[in-house]
Symmetry: C2
Subunit: 298 residues, 2 copies
């Protein structure tokens, strides 16, 4: 009859803007299997969340009254149901969790709330759960957690609490410039690490030059018939500006990096070029550990 | 039989990436009529330029062998035909002009070449003609011409020559962020002049903060239910960074502003907040004066 049927004890969900990921967890909180789809919050109307979840879990044999624990943008105002923000400073997992209005009585879905900061105004949804996972693995961690992504978070941790944080939308600005300006003709797929590190230094020293240097890449491509390093250079200029802006957070402190491997590697390289050696953490393991910690607090 | 027929002596064309504009000029170089279309260079394949031009001029009675003088991206590599760049430092109008390969023998189309700079690499197409027009009106102008646009040019003029120039793609970066990041939910149509001027100062003082301040606007909108000034604030941050980057060009020198009235007004306001009072010039009048100067050099 084909593959052995997966029979989880509970389900862990990472439900972001662009993707939905699920893990089938056993009673000892070990993942048995995982599944994913492109049914991110950004693509779903309110009544489409439950069907998307059921499609993704269809191959697994859920227990009656399956406990499902979710983090991420699923709890945004435009999500399945709004999970009101906790307020920093605070530990990363804040009660109450919010129950999603599933029509199927067999689904018991809980959403972990994001966190908000009043001044400067800032918000996160999902990263708080990853940080809870990091602290579940390493309860003594003190320093800065950097979570690179479209919206990179810089989070100050002390005594198991999030003290403050800042978000830089560097990744989204990079994508907007790379895909929706004249530079779309100029950025190839090549990655030139030396050009990246040099551009990090340029971006830190003269962040005001971004709009000039960006056009200079285009002019170089037109006049010298080739600007092979443009992708790395643009990324370096933007990440360099971000490092300059967040220097008071990361300089002379322990930094943990927690994100998609490729982007985390770029941030690591940028930080190392400035004399800070970050610890690279496994983002997926932190997400799972955080969702597990949340499950035990329901 | 309806309107009097327009019978120009020659035709002036401003043919940019997104628009095509034509003026019917009499023998005394006075415009008799104008016409425009959305047939910009960016939307046309090579063999579509001549038909687009003929459509636009269809209502006018052209002389035999009509002299048509064009500036702008029509002379780019992806344009009707490439008009090789002149090299700065040099006067703005550089010979040779390039003849476009019109199939109709009644069309005698000349393209004014753009200008290139080797170091830092930079290019312009169209602005050189506007600057020639400014100098035709005011041959003694010494100082900086700022031409705001998607790609804002800062051009140093001395003794009738362009000495050097820099391009900031501030306008295109603004549009990319405004339309293709999460800020698209946050930027309204309101313009808050006070917020703009404050953001110019912030952008000059801390250009590295752009990606943080951009997300802060989003968080303000989420947490405080309203960020009315976000459009002006984002524009101010970006223009402030540009002013910081170009300060050595514009500080303590005469500055002429030459661009679309709304954007030129924002640049004027930003410069005035920094103690520099620019002269606002009529961009269309400069374009026409420049194309007229070019016509007399064919």
């Amino acid at each position: 009859m084909g593959d052995a049927l997966i029979a989880p004890d509970w389900i862990a969900l990472d439900w972001g803007t662009t993707n939905l990921r699920a893990w089938a967890m056993d009673a000892a909180d070990t993942p048995l299997a995982e599944a994913g789809s492109g049914d991110g919050m950004g693509t779903l109307s309110r009544d489409a969340f439950e069907p998307a979840l059921k499609r993704l879990l269809a191959e697994w044999r859920l227990p009656p009254q399956a406990c499902i624990v979710a983090c991420g943008m699923v709890g945004a105002r435009q999500g399945w149901t709004e999970a009101a923000y906790g307020r920093v400073p605070c530990p990363p997992l804040q009660k109450p969790f919010t129950r999603a209005p599933a029509a199927d009585p067999g689904l018991d879905v809980w959403i972990v709330p994001g966190l908000a900061q009043a001044e400067p105004a800032d918000v996160m949804r999902g990263e708080e759960t990853q940080i809870a996972g990091l602290l579940a693995q390493d309860s003594d961690f003190e320093g800065i957690v950097c979570l690179p992504g479209s919206h990179t978070k810089w989070v100050e941790i002390s005594k198991g609490r999030i003290e403050r944080f800042r978000t830089a939308m560097t990744g989204e600005i990079f994508a907007a410039i790379a895909d929706h300006t004249v530079l779309r003709h100029t950025l190839g797929e090549v990655w030139d690490e030396g050009a990246f590190v040099a551009a990090v230094a340029d971006g830190m020293a003269a962040p005001q030059d971004l709009a000039l240097r960006a056009f200079e890449m285009r002019a170089n491509a037109l006049l010298k018939d080739g600007e092979q390093a443009a992708r790395a250079r643009l990324s370096g200029l933007l990440i360099g500006a971000e490092l300059q802006a967040t220097r008071a957070l990361w300089q002379d402190r322990p930094v943990a990096l927690l994100g998609a491997p490729k982007l985390a590697t770029h941030y690591a390289s940028a930080l190392e070029s400035q004399g800070t050696t970050p610890q690279l953490r496994d983002a997926e393991a932190c997400t799972l550990a955080g969702l597990t910690a949340a499950k035990h607090r329901i």
